[in-house]
Symmetry: C2
């Protein structure tokens, strides 16, 4: 069993906590008034919007050393829904990995809406969490959390693939914002 700390109590943080709970894992939830509370999880999920990452990392850099850190953000311009706010040749996850060289950074959960994490399905398909990262053990640990919680998980490759996962998350958000898909739909993966 794993012990997770989830920083951020919004709908994504709650949905990820629900998945972990279903799998029998323990979860520490940390909200915006918990800045002085130490993270206790071996897996720390940064379930905050991209613009809030800088402060969270600044406050918690030392305590995140040695831990698995999961970035779930979609770093897009939410005013225009027409561009990303990270340079085109990188990703939010790569930025975090640079800022936290002593942590094992994974990209995950950014291609699944909160509703599909909570429901466990996208239409008739099981919800699949795509996970990218450079540390195989870290990926295995997160894959275990996800699959024990009743979802599918796929190793999407190295952390370099976070760029494509963020593009997919961006595209899916534009489709939902444009009412082409619902917030309980989106992309499902067929093996």
């Amino acid at each position: 069993m794993s012990h997770l700390s989830i920083i951020g109590t919004g709908n994504m943080g709650q949905a990820i906590a629900s998945v972990a709970g279903k799998g029998g894992h323990t979860v520490q939830m940390l909200g915006e008034n918990d800045n002085d509370t130490a993270v206790t999880g071996d897996i720390v999920v940064l379930a905050v919007p991209y613009p809030a990452l800088k402060d969270v990392i600044g406050q918690r850099r030392e305590s995140l050393a040695g831990k698995i850190v999961v970035d779930i953000t979609n770093p897009l311009n939410f005013e225009t829904f027409d561009s990303m706010v990270v340079p085109a040749d990188t990703s939010a996850a790569a930025e975090i990995a640079t800022a936290l060289p002593q942590s094992r950074v994974l990209k995950a959960f950014n291609t699944t809406f909160a509703g599909t994490l909570a429901a466990g399905s996208v239409g008739t398909l099981p919800t699949t969490v795509l996970i990218a990262g450079d540390d195989a053990d870290a990926k295995s640990a997160l894959i275990s959390v996800v699959t024990s919680g009743g979802l599918e998980a796929v190793d999407a490759g190295s952390l370099k693939r976070a760029r494509e996962l963020e593009a997919l998350g961006f595209l899916q958000l534009t489709l939902a914002a444009g009412e082409k898909v619902s917030w309980t739909g989106g992309f499902g993966l067929v093996a």
Copy 2:
């Protein structure tokens, strides 16, 4: 009804011809020995690999003026399966639009494997063709071809979104090459 010219007789060209045929549209297929045959379609699908686009465009630039030109390529490095061969802030489709300023360029079919186009389904989901482009009438014409052929079609936004469609196509190809999904699977879209 539309009349399509499909340049390229590989599995993607054949699958797209099959979809158009099911919808009652007429198709001119042009292979590599047909360089001297004029394109007759109002919709011209460039169903050739990315490296072949330059020659096709060079040979046919004038005859493509005024037409709807559909780019289906996934411009990735097929030796490494680890990067794209177009700059990160652009797309193959944007390059084609620059090279063919008198054509109405669409991105489509790059996120659907040939097998899912031919079958009409991805697992239990209908196959959805994502289409990006800046000309609404051109998108409507291609959407009609796709839906009359029994598939779903979604307007994925402006041609700028081709970057995200190409990232999705790239990701999907890496998943298939890594045996995470089959060539008859991949991403399906749930409305």
